[in-house]
Subunit: 160 residues, 2 copies
DNA sequence: GGTACCGTACTCGGATAAGCAATGTCCGAGTTCGTTGGG
DNA sequence: CCCAACGAACTCGGACATTGCTTATCCGAGTACGGTACC
């Protein structure tokens, strides 16, 4: 049970895009070089962010990606769901209904399984914690310990 | 990012063992038949529960597994960690230090990455929610909608 | 000189392989129980 | 009749294949820009 590495890449890439003050798109190659990531694979993650409505893409020369929404309206949950999908961590296969116990135990199978309920509660706590943190908040915390980063990004991306 | 199916098996198996009132061990074959699970693979999960101190095992004829602690002192987090390991969902690879941005951005790399902090907070909320639910509580909820289950389990396991 | 056309370079996008962990299966070491032979 | 030794059956435990997903890569479709020929 490990989160895809693409989530880390996506968040850092979104943070970098958040530091830009203009709206010019940034190509995958530049974003990948920004953190030494494989270009083509990063591109796949960015495509997912586009499908989720977090980025917009521009084809052709001088094309690339740009934020579709302000960082304050993008939550960590948005990013995780964009990359990982909205499937839940715990998938109930209803084994309570199977086997000798399931056949002889009876019970009301229309109500959710107690095990599933328990797992679902914990997962909701996780999702709420993710939804409560915006990209802007994470960026603010990052800037505390790396105040020069935003400007460096603009320079590396050829914005200044 | 999907939780191993073994977690579901482990919880249901622990619940079944919680319904027994004596301390006689139950072999893997019986537990597997209880929910129509592959016997050998379930055995692998049970081994992990033994290593985690949730079960004790008895070799030889009339051997099997029994609970090592009362259900009220076993939390959902214990079970998840026993099966999945204690590794965190999000693994930071410190890409903030890599690439053109990492090299030019500077900043204090001794403090944890802001992205990691954000993910860690959410994960802690998840773990606390899991730790706040005991096996006994889940069993109580299950008994509400399946009051005959406990006795059926004892019968199927040859206890009555 | 201005404009329309064309070629080139660059971009995203999805289709296509490789690696690794989760899943599933098998056989061996060890223990208990029943049996049998002896006292 | 009681006890000890033996054999067999049963159990866990870990080593060995297989599947699915994550990771990684490549090439094609489409677009913007620069140059060039024409009006």
């Amino acid at each position: 049970m490990r989160m895809s590495q693409g989530v880390e890449w996506a968040v850092h890439t979104l943070l970098a895009l958040s530091c830009l003050e203009d709206d010019q798109p940034v190509p995958t190659a530049t974003l990948a070089a920004g953190h030494d990531l494989p270009r083509s694979y990063l591109n796949k993650q960015l495509q997912r962010l586009v499908k989720a409505g977090l980025l917009t893409s521009e084809p052709g020369a001088q094309g690339g990606f740009r934020l579709a929404r302000p960082p304050a309206s993008i939550t960590m949950l948005d990013v995780v769901e964009a990359i990982e999908g909205d499937a839940r961590l715990f998938r109930c296969t209803e084994i309570r209904q199977c086997g000798t116990i399931g056949r002889h135990g009876g019970g009301d199978f229309s109500v959710p399984c107690a095990v599933t309920n328990s797992m679902r509660k914990a997962e909701e706590a996780w999702r709420e914690a993710l939804a409560g943190q915006t990209l802007a908040a994470v960026l603010a915390e990052a800037n505390e310990h790396a105040p020069a980063m935003a400007r460096a990004i603009r320079q590396v991306f050829g914005r200044e």
